[in-house]
Amino acid sequence: MEDFNLFIRSIFIDNMIFAYFLGMCSFLAVSKNVKTALGLGVAVTFMLVITLPINYLLETYVLKAGALAWFGEEFSEVDLSFLSLIMFIAVIASMTQLVEMAVEKYSPALYSQLGIFLPLIAVNCAILGGSLFMQQRDFGSVWTATCAGAGWGLGWLLAIVAIAAIRERLASYSNIPKPLRGIGITFIITALMGIAFMSFLGIKI
């Protein structure tokens, strides 16, 4: 139950885009139409669900202070936490590569849909951000980490699909001042959506 609450909280209250602004670059660049936005959203969710548990295990059994105690008495003092940034990004980059190869082999249809987005994801801040938040918050188990990952991913998906839908309509039905067209107005819409999402802040679950 605790984990389910965390999952819901990660979608709405701790939303990656509206609460932390993570993954904004691809959020702004790839939100011109709903279909590609959905593709990228699915890919990001997928990567978060995969990398968060892996990085959690890495953090708990290798990187944290005293984490190497299982390896032998003399390693119980070792603190490798300064390496965590490099390890996390290496895991993310290599998982992206692996997932790309696996998807290409087993599901060419999905690959042609996600294809161009997969390599982009290695440098999506939302993924690395997820791992860093996981490290900061000391999650209790792998399962908790996975739930948080799934929640953050879905929250991101929700946000990018919503903004893409708004932008699709916006282009044809509105008369925006010239200098604001394109990226400017997208910023303002995102801000307004962010304010709307802040209404979830008071909810305690």
């Binding site: 932390y20 990004i89 910023f187």
Partner: protein, 208 residues
């Protein structure tokens, strides 16, 4: 002379015409999250300038030996190494700011400005121009960060760098700080206003 102009262009173009944040729309994530106060914004700006400049030099030095198929991983490792150094330095000498910046120093690794500059410039240029390009782009990023943080801190808390600048008499006359400016969404609106002003001055950047 032409050579000289080009070098100067590499250094100064990113400040306005080619600004990484408001024209190329790169590195937005951290630009928004750290700008509630001026001090972390300045520290973040300096960190990014340092990381971009040195990553550009390193990648430019080894650009001929990197196999193209794994270049992204090589770039990420170089950047991650530099960011770890910055992170440890901040923890050692500016612990409070480092606490405020929390995960965002780590997120410099995935800052799109870095990957963008490494891919677009450092992979095909000599170390010295690459260094200047890094400084220029880092500074372009820092400028936007400082402008946004300036307005947010001034209007949101009535202070600058922690010192109160709005006189007490204003508060006595009924002036109140706008709490909304502290909240994250207002960073987006501030950036949108900067884009608005910038694009109405540079007509060729406007979208149709």
């Amino acid at each position: 002379m032409a050579q000289n102009n080009r070098t100067l262009g590499v250094l100064f173009n990113p400040l306005s015409k080619d600004n990484p944040v408001i024209v190329q729309i790169l590195g937005i994530c951290s630009a928004l999250a750290v700008t509630a106060k001026l001090e972390p914004a300045i520290v973040m700006g300096i960190s990014v300038i340092a990381v971009v400049a040195f990553a550009n030099v390193i990648i430019s030095l080894i650009r001929n030996t990197i196999p193209t198929s794994i270049r992204i991983i090589v770039q990420l490792v170089v950047v991650a190494g530099l960011v770890v150094i910055v992170d440890q330095l901040l923890k050692a000498y500016a612990y409070d700011v480092s606490k405020q910046l929390s995960v965002f120093i780590g997120l410099i690794i995935t800052n799109c400005i870095l990957m963008g500059r490494l891919e677009a410039f450092a992979m095909s240029n000599k170390p010295w121009p690459a260094f200047l390009d890094g400084i220029g782009n880092g500074a372009g990023y820092a400028i936007i960060l400082i402008i946004v943080a300036f307005f947010r801190e001034l209007l949101g808390s009535g202070t600058l760098l922690g010192y109160q600048v709005i006189p007490d008499s204003f508060y006595e006359a009924g002036y109140v700080n706008n709490g909304l400016m502290i909240l994250p969404p207002m960073a987006l609106i501030t950036v949108a206003c900067i884009i608005w002003v910038h694009r109405s001055r540079n007509k060729d950047l406007q979208d149709e």
